[in-house]
């Protein structure tokens, strides 16, 4: 499987997880085997992770997501790219994010 993160790709949460919000925290609960390593493993996102995930909605290309995040965080273009790509890559590898088909 190709786990490379592509700027032109559209990403969205996979159907293998359930994304929930409890007490203001975003929690990702694995649904199928292989997402987490343990049966009671859950994933939590910090505020930044949360802002990124909210934009990975199955509609926008990653490069557009990066652009709008730069605006949101008022950081010069390119500065946050590495972090966001790392984040997307990690979630993609774990099957929490999938590449959504266009349209």
């Amino acid at each position: 499987m190709n786990t490379e993160v592509k700027m032109d790709s559209i990403y969205a949460p996979s159907e293998d997880v359930v994304v929930r919000e409890i007490e203001g925290e975003v929690i990702i609960v694995p649904l199928v085997a292989g997402v987490g390593n343990m049966e009671d493993e859950i994933f939590t996102l910090n505020e930044t992770g949360r802002a990124i995930l909210a934009k990975l909605d199955g509609k926008s290309r990653l490069k557009d997501v990066l652009e709008s995040l730069s605006e949101e965080f008022e950081s010069p273009a390119g500065e946050i790219d590495r972090d966001v790509i790392g984040f997307v890559g990690e979630l993609f590898k774990r099957n929490i994010l999938v590449e959504a088909s266009e349209g």
Binding site: G36, T48, S75, D83, F87
Partner: protein, 381 residues
């Protein structure tokens, strides 16, 4: 920007606990008894109704009803739930119930006797792993197992089901009840469990009475209860358990408990973090609390109303009974004791009654653990 945007943690280590810990009440989990029916008929069982009981079947919550209640529970913040029974695998729609809970983003555990596990269950659980499947072990030999379950062929079905589960890689834990009919085999049961679950084993030596108050069955349960001395002997024989008990009690046996000033009945976690949904749609603050003024019929109301309005009223119940206020309510041994208002009601028909058997067990434990000094606090035994 902070570079670690995502962290993966096992549930017990989640930072959610810090948030929750600051609150007085918050729904974290619930137990779901999807049926009270069981294919076994264990001597000590506090709940079972025969597998084919048509009336019981009719009263059971349907998949849709469960779905609706679980949706509300999730909205209230519940993060995990336990499917239990009776024997949950008796329900033909077990798989649908299980999946619908999982799809809501709940972590789901299952209690089962394992006798009805099929290949289909295994594929379901492999694909959508539960948090844990806990299986009860009533004996390590056919004779003992079936003396407890009173059903021929159950031991074979149990070992078959357990093997299927263990081979599948699903996380399985084993536990036992210790009663007169199997107590002599407890060391073998412990060995049986440890061999199969990488050393994990726990047993419960204090039997609960029936939730339905069935008198004949209660007599049977009483006759299966071990003496306090035997309970302590068994606990001593299990060094892990004894050590845990001691460690917990070093932290928990607390003479300050006797300074409690209020006269509230409930000082436990019932209704604070969880609730139990019984097979017929009644909400209980915990699985044992059956007093009619402490249960809420979810078929006639909503979980949100029950959780936000009804449960706080129950938690506010008080007692002015002198015996209660002077004894169980302020007892420093409460963590060694099965006493609680729910069990007092099952034993005596009153939420604030004292229960001699529990008291004797707690005192025997305390003296075995070397807490003689604290024993004198209660002073009445």
């Amino acid at each position: 920007m902070n570079k670690s945007f995502v962290s993966s943690v096992p549930l017990p280590e989640s930072s959610l606990w810090d948030t929750m810990g600051k609150k007085e009440r918050s729904l974290l989990f619930f137990d779901l008894e999807i049926t009270a029916r069981c294919n076994n008929n264990c001597r000590h069982c506090y709940i079972n109704i025969p597998a084919g009981d048509r009336d019981a079947m009719k009263r059971e919550l349907s998949l849709d009803e469960i779905d609706e209640i679980a949706d509300e529970a999730v909205q209230l913040g519940a993060l995990w739930c336990l499917i239990t029974g009776g024997e949950p695998l008796l329900r033909e729609d077990f798989g649908d119930i299980y999946l619908s809970l999982k799809r809501k983003g709940l972590l789901v555990s299952i209690f089962t006797n394992a006798t009805l596990v099929t290949e289909e269950h295994i594929s379901l659980l492999r694909k959508y792993p539960p948090r844990v499947v806990e299986v009860s072990v009533y004996g390590a030999t056919r004779d003992t197992y079936e003396r407890v379950t009173r059903r021929r062929g159950s031991y074979l079905a149990f070992t078959r089901g357990l093997n299927l589960l263990s081979e599948s890689g699903v996380y399985v834990r084993l536990k036992a009840m210790a009663l007169r009919s199997n107590a002599n085999e407890l060391p073998e049961i412990a060995r049986f469990c440890r061999q199969r679950t990488m050393d994990y084993f726990r047993f419960d030596p204090v039997l609960h009475l029936r939730l339905d108050g069935n008198q004949a069955r209660n007599e049977e349960i009483r006759s299966e209860r071990l003496s306090p001395e035997k309970i302590v002997e068994l606990e001593r024989g299990d060094p892990d358990r004894f050590r845990t008990l001691k460690k917990e009690c070093d932290e928990l046996i607390d003479p300050r408990f006797s300074q409690i000033k209020c006269n509230h009945l409930f000082n436990c976690g019932a209704g604070r973090w969880s609730f139990t949904l019984s097979y017929d749609g009644m909400l209980h603050l915990c699985s044992s609390l059956c007093h009619p003024s402490c249960v809420y019929d979810l078929r006639k109301g909503s979980l949100t109303d029950a959780w936000n309005n009804f449960v706080p009223r129950v938690l506010d119940m008080k007692s002015d009974r002198k015996e209660f206020l002077e004894r169980c309510h302020v007892c420093p041994l409460t963590n060694l004791c099965l006493w609680c208002p729910a069990h007092a009601y099952l034993e005596k028909g009153e939420l604030d009654a004292h229960v001699e058997y529990f008291c004797k067990v707690a005192h025997s434990r305390a003296s075995a653990l070397g807490y003689n000094r604290i024993l004198s606090v209660d002073g009445k035994e």
